[in-house]
Symmetry: C2
Subunit: 204 residues, 2 copies
DNA sequence: ATAATTTCTTATCTTTTGTTAACAATTTAA
DNA sequence: TTAAATTGTTAACAAAAGATAAGAAATTAT
Protein backbone atom coordinates (compact mmCIF):
# COMPACT_ATOMS: atom_id res chain seq x y z
CA UNK A 1 0.00 0.00 0.00
CA UNK A 2 1.72 3.15 -1.21
CA UNK A 3 -0.08 6.20 0.10
CA UNK A 4 -0.10 9.52 -1.76
CA UNK A 5 3.13 11.25 -0.91
CA UNK A 6 3.14 13.94 1.73
CA UNK A 7 5.93 16.48 1.43
CA UNK A 8 8.65 16.73 4.05
CA UNK A 9 7.79 20.23 5.21
CA UNK A 10 4.22 19.31 6.06
CA UNK A 11 5.37 16.05 7.60
CA UNK A 12 7.78 17.92 9.85
CA UNK A 13 5.04 20.26 11.03
CA UNK A 14 2.83 17.29 11.75
CA UNK A 15 5.58 15.51 13.64
CA UNK A 16 6.06 18.58 15.81
CA UNK A 17 2.32 18.71 16.34
CA UNK A 18 2.26 15.11 17.57
CA UNK A 19 5.33 15.73 19.71
CA UNK A 20 3.23 18.04 21.87
CA UNK A 21 1.70 14.83 23.15
CA UNK A 22 4.13 11.98 22.43
CA UNK A 23 7.63 12.06 20.98
CA UNK A 24 8.28 9.45 18.33
CA UNK A 25 11.87 8.33 17.75
CA UNK A 26 13.31 8.33 14.25
CA UNK A 27 12.89 4.58 13.83
CA UNK A 28 9.26 4.78 14.91
CA UNK A 29 8.66 7.78 12.71
CA UNK A 30 9.94 5.96 9.65
CA UNK A 31 7.14 3.47 10.13
CA UNK A 32 4.53 5.94 11.22
CA UNK A 33 4.95 8.35 8.33
CA UNK A 34 3.82 5.72 5.85
CA UNK A 35 0.34 5.97 7.30
CA UNK A 36 0.11 9.72 6.87
CA UNK A 37 -1.33 11.29 3.75
CA UNK A 38 -1.75 14.84 2.55
CA UNK A 39 -5.03 16.51 1.73
CA UNK A 40 -5.55 19.96 0.30
CA UNK A 41 -8.98 21.54 0.28
CA UNK A 42 -9.91 24.67 -1.58
CA UNK A 43 -12.07 27.29 0.10
CA UNK A 44 -15.61 25.98 0.70
CA UNK A 45 -14.62 22.35 0.05
CA UNK A 46 -15.72 19.91 2.71
CA UNK A 47 -13.65 17.74 4.99
CA UNK A 48 -16.78 16.03 6.31
CA UNK A 49 -20.44 16.13 5.37
CA UNK A 50 -23.63 15.22 7.20
CA UNK A 51 -24.93 11.72 6.61
CA UNK A 52 -21.56 10.22 5.76
CA UNK A 53 -19.05 8.50 7.98
CA UNK A 54 -16.06 10.75 8.53
CA UNK A 55 -13.22 8.51 7.45
CA UNK A 56 -10.23 10.68 8.36
CA UNK A 57 -8.75 12.58 11.18
CA UNK A 58 -6.85 15.63 9.99
CA UNK A 59 -4.17 17.92 11.32
CA UNK A 60 -4.15 21.45 9.90
CA UNK A 61 -0.74 22.28 8.52
CA UNK A 62 -2.02 25.61 7.30
CA UNK A 63 -5.40 27.13 6.77
CA UNK A 64 -8.62 26.89 8.75
CA UNK A 65 -12.00 25.20 8.86
CA UNK A 66 -15.40 25.73 10.35
CA UNK A 67 -17.77 23.13 11.76
CA UNK A 68 -21.43 23.72 11.00
CA UNK A 69 -24.83 22.10 11.16
CA UNK A 70 -27.90 22.74 9.08
CA UNK A 71 -31.00 23.56 11.10
CA UNK A 72 -34.29 24.45 9.40
CA UNK A 73 -32.39 24.94 6.16
CA UNK A 74 -29.82 27.38 7.50
CA UNK A 75 -26.20 26.82 8.38
CA UNK A 76 -25.18 27.27 12.01
CA UNK A 77 -21.46 27.40 12.68
CA UNK A 78 -20.42 25.72 15.90
CA UNK A 79 -16.65 25.72 15.88
CA UNK A 80 -13.44 26.70 14.13
CA UNK A 81 -10.05 25.07 13.84
CA UNK A 82 -6.77 26.60 12.75
CA UNK A 83 -3.13 25.63 12.26
CA UNK A 84 -1.93 22.80 14.53
CA UNK A 85 -5.43 21.71 15.43
CA UNK A 86 -6.76 18.23 14.91
CA UNK A 87 -9.93 18.05 12.87
CA UNK A 88 -12.61 15.42 12.55
CA UNK A 89 -16.25 14.66 13.07
CA UNK A 90 -15.00 12.80 16.09
CA UNK A 91 -18.15 11.00 17.00
CA UNK A 92 -18.58 9.79 13.46
CA UNK A 93 -14.93 8.82 13.14
CA UNK A 94 -14.85 7.04 16.47
CA UNK A 95 -18.18 5.26 16.29
CA UNK A 96 -18.22 4.62 12.55
CA UNK A 97 -21.67 6.12 12.19
CA UNK A 98 -22.85 8.86 9.80
CA UNK A 99 -22.02 12.33 11.05
CA UNK A 100 -24.60 15.03 11.65
CA UNK A 101 -22.53 18.05 10.72
CA UNK A 102 -20.22 19.52 8.15
CA UNK A 103 -16.59 20.59 8.22
CA UNK A 104 -15.65 23.11 5.57
CA UNK A 105 -12.42 24.86 4.63
CA UNK A 106 -12.60 28.61 5.26
CA UNK A 107 -9.66 29.11 2.90
CA UNK A 108 -7.26 26.85 1.04
CA UNK A 109 -6.25 24.41 3.76
CA UNK A 110 -3.60 21.72 3.95
CA UNK A 111 -4.06 18.70 6.19
CA UNK A 112 -1.97 15.77 7.26
CA UNK A 113 -4.57 13.02 7.46
CA UNK A 114 -4.89 9.56 8.93
CA UNK A 115 -7.59 7.31 7.56
CA UNK A 116 -9.53 5.13 9.96
CA UNK A 117 -7.98 2.01 8.48
CA UNK A 118 -4.50 3.40 8.81
CA UNK A 119 -5.11 4.37 12.41
CA UNK A 120 -6.32 0.85 13.10
CA UNK A 121 -3.15 -0.52 11.56
CA UNK A 122 -1.02 1.81 13.63
CA UNK A 123 -2.90 0.81 16.78
CA UNK A 124 -2.18 -2.82 15.91
CA UNK A 125 1.41 -2.32 14.87
CA UNK A 126 3.65 -3.78 17.62
CA UNK A 127 6.14 -0.93 17.30
CA UNK A 128 3.54 1.82 17.30
CA UNK A 129 0.57 0.56 19.30
CA UNK A 130 1.56 1.69 22.77
CA UNK A 131 2.61 5.19 21.82
CA UNK A 132 -0.38 5.64 19.56
CA UNK A 133 -2.77 4.66 22.33
CA UNK A 134 -1.01 7.10 24.58
CA UNK A 135 -1.09 9.78 21.92
CA UNK A 136 -4.80 9.22 21.43
CA UNK A 137 -5.44 9.43 25.14
CA UNK A 138 -3.52 12.67 25.56
CA UNK A 139 -5.11 14.34 22.54
CA UNK A 140 -8.56 13.29 23.70
CA UNK A 141 -7.85 14.58 27.19
CA UNK A 142 -6.73 17.88 25.75
CA UNK A 143 -9.94 18.30 23.82
CA UNK A 144 -11.98 17.33 26.86
CA UNK A 145 -10.38 20.22 28.71
CA UNK A 146 -11.22 22.60 25.85
CA UNK A 147 -14.80 21.37 25.71
CA UNK A 148 -15.20 21.70 29.45
CA UNK A 149 -14.25 25.37 29.21
CA UNK A 150 -16.65 25.93 26.36
CA UNK A 151 -19.59 24.30 28.12
CA UNK A 152 -18.86 26.23 31.32
CA UNK A 153 -19.01 29.43 29.35
CA UNK A 154 -22.50 28.59 28.07
CA UNK A 155 -23.63 27.85 31.62
CA UNK A 156 -21.93 30.71 33.42
CA UNK A 157 -21.52 33.60 31.03
CA UNK A 158 -23.87 35.89 29.19
CA UNK A 159 -23.37 36.16 25.42
CA UNK A 160 -21.60 39.46 25.98
CA UNK A 161 -19.17 37.95 28.50
CA UNK A 162 -18.61 35.02 26.15
CA UNK A 163 -17.75 37.43 23.36
CA UNK A 164 -15.30 39.39 25.52
CA UNK A 165 -13.62 36.21 26.76
CA UNK A 166 -13.27 35.00 23.20
CA UNK A 167 -11.51 38.21 22.22
CA UNK A 168 -8.91 37.50 24.90
CA UNK A 169 -8.56 33.81 24.13
CA UNK A 170 -8.54 34.13 20.34
CA UNK A 171 -7.57 37.73 19.67
CA UNK A 172 -7.42 37.34 15.91
CA UNK A 173 -10.61 35.39 15.37
CA UNK A 174 -12.60 38.44 14.25
CA UNK A 175 -9.98 39.03 11.59
CA UNK A 176 -9.95 35.47 10.28
CA UNK A 177 -13.61 34.53 10.41
CA UNK A 178 -16.79 36.20 9.11
CA UNK A 179 -18.67 37.77 11.99
CA UNK A 180 -21.92 35.90 11.47
CA UNK A 181 -20.06 32.62 11.89
CA UNK A 182 -18.61 33.88 15.15
CA UNK A 183 -22.11 34.85 16.26
CA UNK A 184 -23.30 31.28 15.80
CA UNK A 185 -20.23 30.02 17.63
CA UNK A 186 -21.21 32.20 20.58
CA UNK A 187 -24.73 30.83 20.47
CA UNK A 188 -26.39 34.05 19.30
CA UNK A 189 -27.63 35.62 16.09
CA UNK A 190 -25.48 37.81 13.87
CA UNK A 191 -27.73 40.78 14.62
CA UNK A 192 -27.23 40.26 18.31
CA UNK A 193 -23.45 40.09 17.99
CA UNK A 194 -23.49 43.32 16.04
CA UNK A 195 -25.35 44.99 18.90
CA UNK A 196 -23.00 43.56 21.51
CA UNK A 197 -20.02 44.87 19.61
CA UNK A 198 -21.60 48.29 19.39
CA UNK A 199 -22.26 48.55 23.12
CA UNK A 200 -18.87 47.12 24.19
CA UNK A 201 -16.95 49.59 22.00
CA UNK A 202 -15.44 46.61 20.25
CA UNK A 203 -11.80 46.41 21.21
CA UNK A 204 -9.41 44.70 18.77
CA UNK B 1 1.45 0.25 50.16
CA UNK B 2 -1.79 -1.24 51.42
CA UNK B 3 -4.76 0.78 50.23
CA UNK B 4 -8.04 0.99 52.14
CA UNK B 5 -9.98 -2.11 51.25
CA UNK B 6 -12.77 -1.91 48.70
CA UNK B 7 -15.46 -4.54 49.00
CA UNK B 8 -15.95 -7.17 46.33
CA UNK B 9 -19.42 -6.08 45.28
CA UNK B 10 -18.28 -2.56 44.46
CA UNK B 11 -15.15 -3.88 42.83
CA UNK B 12 -17.21 -6.13 40.58
CA UNK B 13 -19.41 -3.22 39.51
CA UNK B 14 -16.31 -1.18 38.77
CA UNK B 15 -14.75 -4.01 36.78
CA UNK B 16 -17.90 -4.24 34.67
CA UNK B 17 -17.76 -0.50 34.20
CA UNK B 18 -14.22 -0.64 32.91
CA UNK B 19 -15.07 -3.63 30.71
CA UNK B 20 -17.29 -1.34 28.64
CA UNK B 21 -14.00 0.00 27.33
CA UNK B 22 -11.30 -2.60 27.94
CA UNK B 23 -11.58 -6.13 29.32
CA UNK B 24 -8.95 -6.99 31.90
CA UNK B 25 -8.05 -10.66 32.39
CA UNK B 26 -8.08 -12.15 35.87
CA UNK B 27 -4.30 -11.99 36.21
CA UNK B 28 -4.31 -8.34 35.21
CA UNK B 29 -7.20 -7.58 37.49
CA UNK B 30 -5.41 -9.04 40.48
CA UNK B 31 -2.75 -6.39 40.00
CA UNK B 32 -5.08 -3.60 39.02
CA UNK B 33 -7.45 -3.91 41.95
CA UNK B 34 -4.70 -3.00 44.39
CA UNK B 35 -4.76 0.51 43.00
CA UNK B 36 -8.48 0.97 43.53
CA UNK B 37 -9.89 2.47 46.69
CA UNK B 38 -13.38 3.08 47.98
CA UNK B 39 -14.83 6.42 48.89
CA UNK B 40 -18.21 7.15 50.41
CA UNK B 41 -19.56 10.66 50.53
CA UNK B 42 -22.60 11.77 52.46
CA UNK B 43 -25.10 14.11 50.89
CA UNK B 44 -23.57 17.57 50.32
CA UNK B 45 -20.01 16.35 50.86
CA UNK B 46 -17.56 17.34 48.18
CA UNK B 47 -15.57 15.18 45.80
CA UNK B 48 -13.70 18.23 44.51
CA UNK B 49 -13.56 21.87 45.51
CA UNK B 50 -12.48 25.04 43.73
CA UNK B 51 -8.90 26.09 44.27
CA UNK B 52 -7.59 22.62 45.02
CA UNK B 53 -6.08 20.06 42.72
CA UNK B 54 -8.50 17.21 42.16
CA UNK B 55 -6.43 14.21 43.12
CA UNK B 56 -8.80 11.39 42.23
CA UNK B 57 -10.84 10.07 39.41
CA UNK B 58 -13.99 8.38 40.63
CA UNK B 59 -16.48 5.86 39.32
CA UNK B 60 -19.96 6.02 40.81
CA UNK B 61 -20.98 2.64 42.16
CA UNK B 62 -24.19 4.11 43.47
CA UNK B 63 -25.50 7.58 44.11
CA UNK B 64 -25.09 10.80 42.18
CA UNK B 65 -23.19 14.08 42.08
CA UNK B 66 -23.55 17.53 40.67
CA UNK B 67 -20.83 19.76 39.24
CA UNK B 68 -21.17 23.43 40.06
CA UNK B 69 -19.37 26.74 39.92
CA UNK B 70 -19.78 29.81 42.05
CA UNK B 71 -20.46 32.96 40.11
CA UNK B 72 -21.12 36.27 41.88
CA UNK B 73 -21.64 34.37 45.10
CA UNK B 74 -24.25 31.97 43.76
CA UNK B 75 -23.93 28.34 42.82
CA UNK B 76 -24.51 27.40 39.19
CA UNK B 77 -24.88 23.72 38.46
CA UNK B 78 -23.33 22.62 35.18
CA UNK B 79 -23.57 18.86 35.15
CA UNK B 80 -24.71 15.69 36.86
CA UNK B 81 -23.29 12.21 37.06
CA UNK B 82 -24.99 9.02 38.13
CA UNK B 83 -24.23 5.32 38.55
CA UNK B 84 -21.55 3.98 36.18
CA UNK B 85 -20.26 7.42 35.31
CA UNK B 86 -16.68 8.52 35.79
CA UNK B 87 -16.28 11.63 37.88
CA UNK B 88 -13.47 14.13 38.19
CA UNK B 89 -12.50 17.73 37.72
CA UNK B 90 -10.80 16.41 34.63
CA UNK B 91 -8.82 19.47 33.74
CA UNK B 92 -7.50 19.75 37.26
CA UNK B 93 -6.76 16.04 37.50
CA UNK B 94 -5.07 15.91 34.13
CA UNK B 95 -3.09 19.13 34.31
CA UNK B 96 -2.36 19.06 38.05
CA UNK B 97 -3.63 22.58 38.50
CA UNK B 98 -6.24 23.90 40.97
CA UNK B 99 -9.78 23.32 39.77
CA UNK B 100 -12.31 26.07 39.26
CA UNK B 101 -15.44 24.18 40.25
CA UNK B 102 -17.02 21.91 42.81
CA UNK B 103 -18.30 18.35 42.70
CA UNK B 104 -20.81 17.52 45.39
CA UNK B 105 -22.75 14.40 46.31
CA UNK B 106 -26.50 14.80 45.77
CA UNK B 107 -27.12 11.88 48.09
CA UNK B 108 -24.96 9.32 49.84
CA UNK B 109 -22.66 8.19 47.06
CA UNK B 110 -20.16 5.37 46.77
CA UNK B 111 -17.16 5.68 44.48
CA UNK B 112 -14.39 3.44 43.29
CA UNK B 113 -11.49 5.86 43.09
CA UNK B 114 -8.04 6.00 41.55
CA UNK B 115 -5.60 8.52 42.91
CA UNK B 116 -3.35 10.37 40.50
CA UNK B 117 -0.31 8.60 41.88
CA UNK B 118 -1.92 5.21 41.53
CA UNK B 119 -2.92 5.95 37.97
CA UNK B 120 0.66 6.94 37.20
CA UNK B 121 1.85 3.67 38.65
CA UNK B 122 -0.65 1.73 36.61
CA UNK B 123 0.38 3.58 33.47
CA UNK B 124 3.97 2.62 34.25
CA UNK B 125 3.29 -0.96 35.23
CA UNK B 126 4.52 -3.22 32.43
CA UNK B 127 1.54 -5.55 32.75
CA UNK B 128 -1.05 -2.75 32.86
CA UNK B 129 0.37 0.16 30.89
CA UNK B 130 -0.88 -0.69 27.42
CA UNK B 131 -4.43 -1.53 28.42
CA UNK B 132 -4.63 1.43 30.76
CA UNK B 133 -3.55 3.81 28.02
CA UNK B 134 -6.15 2.26 25.77
CA UNK B 135 -8.76 2.45 28.49
CA UNK B 136 -7.96 6.10 29.04
CA UNK B 137 -8.20 6.83 25.35
CA UNK B 138 -11.56 5.12 24.97
CA UNK B 139 -13.07 6.76 28.03
CA UNK B 140 -11.82 10.17 26.93
CA UNK B 141 -13.22 9.60 23.44
CA UNK B 142 -16.56 8.66 24.94
CA UNK B 143 -16.74 11.86 26.93
CA UNK B 144 -15.70 13.90 23.91
CA UNK B 145 -18.72 12.52 22.08
CA UNK B 146 -20.99 13.44 25.00
CA UNK B 147 -19.54 16.93 25.21
CA UNK B 148 -19.91 17.43 21.46
CA UNK B 149 -23.62 16.71 21.77
CA UNK B 150 -23.98 19.07 24.66
CA UNK B 151 -22.21 21.94 22.91
CA UNK B 152 -24.23 21.38 19.74
CA UNK B 153 -27.37 21.69 21.78
CA UNK B 154 -26.31 25.10 23.10
CA UNK B 155 -25.56 26.25 19.57
CA UNK B 156 -28.54 24.75 17.79
CA UNK B 157 -31.40 24.49 20.22
CA UNK B 158 -33.54 26.91 22.17
CA UNK B 159 -33.76 26.36 25.93
CA UNK B 160 -37.18 24.80 25.40
CA UNK B 161 -35.86 22.35 22.83
CA UNK B 162 -32.92 21.57 25.10
CA UNK B 163 -35.32 20.79 27.93
CA UNK B 164 -37.46 18.50 25.77
CA UNK B 165 -34.41 16.67 24.42
CA UNK B 166 -33.15 16.17 27.95
CA UNK B 167 -36.45 14.60 28.97
CA UNK B 168 -35.95 12.02 26.23
CA UNK B 169 -32.26 11.41 26.92
CA UNK B 170 -32.53 11.35 30.72
CA UNK B 171 -36.17 10.58 31.45
CA UNK B 172 -35.72 10.33 35.19
CA UNK B 173 -33.58 13.40 35.72
CA UNK B 174 -36.48 15.55 36.97
CA UNK B 175 -37.17 12.92 39.60
CA UNK B 176 -33.59 12.66 40.81
CA UNK B 177 -32.42 16.27 40.75
CA UNK B 178 -33.88 19.53 42.12
CA UNK B 179 -35.38 21.55 39.33
CA UNK B 180 -33.31 24.68 39.87
CA UNK B 181 -30.15 22.61 39.33
CA UNK B 182 -31.59 21.32 36.08
CA UNK B 183 -32.36 24.88 35.03
CA UNK B 184 -28.69 25.84 35.45
CA UNK B 185 -27.68 22.74 33.54
CA UNK B 186 -29.86 23.89 30.65
CA UNK B 187 -28.29 27.32 30.77
CA UNK B 188 -31.37 29.16 32.04
CA UNK B 189 -32.81 30.42 35.33
CA UNK B 190 -35.10 28.36 37.55
CA UNK B 191 -37.94 30.78 36.89
CA UNK B 192 -37.52 30.32 33.17
CA UNK B 193 -37.55 26.54 33.43
CA UNK B 194 -40.71 26.71 35.46
CA UNK B 195 -42.36 28.71 32.66
CA UNK B 196 -41.11 26.35 29.98
CA UNK B 197 -42.52 23.40 31.87
CA UNK B 198 -45.85 25.15 32.18
CA UNK B 199 -46.18 25.90 28.50
CA UNK B 200 -44.94 22.48 27.32
CA UNK B 201 -47.47 20.65 29.53
CA UNK B 202 -44.55 18.99 31.21
CA UNK B 203 -44.57 15.37 30.23
CA UNK B 204 -43.00 12.84 32.58
C1' DA C 1 -14.26 48.19 -13.65
C1' DT C 2 -18.69 46.88 -12.95
C1' DA C 3 -22.05 43.86 -11.35
C1' DA C 4 -23.38 40.42 -8.18
C1' DT C 5 -23.03 38.43 -3.93
C1' DT C 6 -22.01 38.31 0.72
C1' DT C 7 -21.52 40.47 5.02
C1' DC C 8 -22.52 43.91 8.50
C1' DT C 9 -25.28 47.44 10.66
C1' DT C 10 -29.35 49.62 12.07
C1' DA C 11 -34.26 50.00 13.06
C1' DT C 12 -38.75 48.15 14.44
C1' DC C 13 -41.42 44.90 16.57
C1' DT C 14 -42.20 40.49 19.02
C1' DT C 15 -40.86 36.99 21.99
C1' DT C 16 -38.24 35.21 25.44
C1' DT C 17 -35.53 35.42 29.30
C1' DG C 18 -33.72 37.72 33.49
C1' DT C 19 -34.80 39.96 37.93
C1' DT C 20 -37.15 40.52 41.98
C1' DA C 21 -40.47 39.48 45.13
C1' DA C 22 -44.33 37.12 47.25
C1' DC C 23 -46.31 32.98 48.33
C1' DA C 24 -47.19 27.95 48.26
C1' DA C 25 -45.41 23.44 48.58
C1' DT C 26 -42.17 20.38 49.96
C1' DT C 27 -38.38 18.70 52.49
C1' DT C 28 -35.30 18.73 56.38
C1' DA C 29 -34.06 19.52 61.06
C1' DA C 30 -34.91 20.31 65.88
C1' DT D 1 -44.90 17.69 65.58
C1' DT D 2 -43.54 21.99 64.79
C1' DA D 3 -40.29 25.15 63.04
C1' DA D 4 -36.90 26.26 59.65
C1' DA D 5 -35.01 25.91 55.34
C1' DT D 6 -35.29 24.72 50.69
C1' DT D 7 -37.62 24.38 46.44
C1' DG D 8 -41.10 25.52 42.97
C1' DT D 9 -44.69 28.65 41.00
C1' DT D 10 -46.57 32.87 39.62
C1' DA D 11 -46.71 37.82 38.68
C1' DA D 12 -44.89 42.31 37.15
C1' DC D 13 -41.50 44.73 35.02
C1' DA D 14 -36.97 45.42 32.74
C1' DA D 15 -33.49 43.87 29.70
C1' DA D 16 -31.88 41.22 26.14
C1' DA D 17 -32.32 38.47 22.21
C1' DG D 18 -34.83 36.74 18.05
C1' DA D 19 -37.10 37.86 13.52
C1' DT D 20 -37.53 40.58 9.65
C1' DA D 21 -36.34 43.98 6.54
C1' DA D 22 -33.79 47.79 4.46
C1' DG D 23 -29.69 49.75 3.30
C1' DA D 24 -24.55 50.35 3.59
C1' DA D 25 -20.11 48.27 3.22
C1' DA D 26 -17.10 44.95 1.72
C1' DT D 27 -15.84 41.10 -0.94
C1' DT D 28 -15.97 38.18 -4.95
C1' DA D 29 -16.85 37.13 -9.63
C1' DT D 30 -17.29 38.30 -14.43
Amino acid sequence: MIPPQINDTSLKIFRDGMATYVVFEDTEWEILKNYIELKVLQKKDHFAVSGKICDHIGFIVNGSVRYYHIKDGTEITGYFSFENDFVSSYKSYVTRTPGTGYIQALEQTEFAIISYNNLEQMLNHPLLAYKMERFGRLVAEHYICCYEERISSFILDTPEERYLKMLKTDPDIMQRVPQHYVANYLGITPVSLSRIRKRTVFQS
